[in-house]
Symmetry: C2
Subunit: 122 residues, 2 copies
DNA sequence: AGCTATGCTTTGACAATCTAGGTATCGGCT
DNA sequence: AGCCGATACCTAGATTGTCAAAGCATAGCT
């Protein structure tokens, strides 16, 4: 009994998505960039594709996050034109960014483990 | 080379902890209560203990969260005196709370899976 | 000409957590 | 008796990150 009103459809779809938790976005962005230089819009697509459509990063989340991340020196940015002839801002992981990715992945693993411990309690 | 100044000790300890991500606290509280009725302070201890000291819920996080959760009907509360003769507010999972716990666990699993997919990309 | 997808940006709202304070009782130690 | 740490609850304010919702611009397709 899926509702047909388009507004409800969106809600329905949204419920299929895993909501992002605060703190996970940076890791995802860094991970996406670890696979190669990319522009903002492409990062969104890459994350969505890699996660089998389970994760959808909003533009309003991504761009501020990219700005934060750049300020911290984890990525460097440059404007360039790509194949299609369109201009875009390309981001690249710095060495510090690669290190940060490791740190965040370790933190994530620790959290997942800790929560698993709590959950397996009977 | 662990610093000895007590303020720094705390910081040191804090860095060993997995930081809580927004959205996980409710699940942890509900899970803790699924093991049996408990009061606020006890919930903190139970979560810390079950997670092998990896998770430390702050009081300033817990009590507002408990209030939220109670408002949503996921727990019921009553004041009582426990063994030690001290008064405390005991929380109990409601049926809706048990359902909510399942929902949140499923959501958590979905998120962990989705992030794992992104992370395993080469 | 209009629509969709691409691409970047900004604003404001919102929600959750943490820091830091407050109150009070209890037991153990000196 | 006095002190202190642990227990137990509560609240205010700051911070942070995400999202919703706009706006702007271009390319390609119909």
């Amino acid at each position: 009994m899926m509702p047909t009103d388009s507004r409800y459809e969106e809600i329905y779809v949204a419920k299929n998505k895993a909501e992002l938790l605060q703190g996970t976005l940076d890791m995802l962005i860094l991970k996406a960039l670890s696979l190669g230089e990319l522009h903002g819009y492409g990062i969104i697509q890459r994350i969505r594709q890699l996660s089998d459509e389970m994760l959808n990063v909003e533009q309003g989340s991504l761009y501020p996050a990219l700005y934060r991340i750049e300020q911290k020196g984890w990525v460097s940015a440059r404007w360039d034109v790509h194949d299609t002839g369109r201009e875009a801002k390309f981001y690249k992981l710095t060495r510090a960014g690669r290190k940060q990715l490791e740190t965040e992945e370790a933190g994530w693993d620790r959290l997942v483990l800790a929560i698993a411990k709590v959950r397996q309690a009977t």
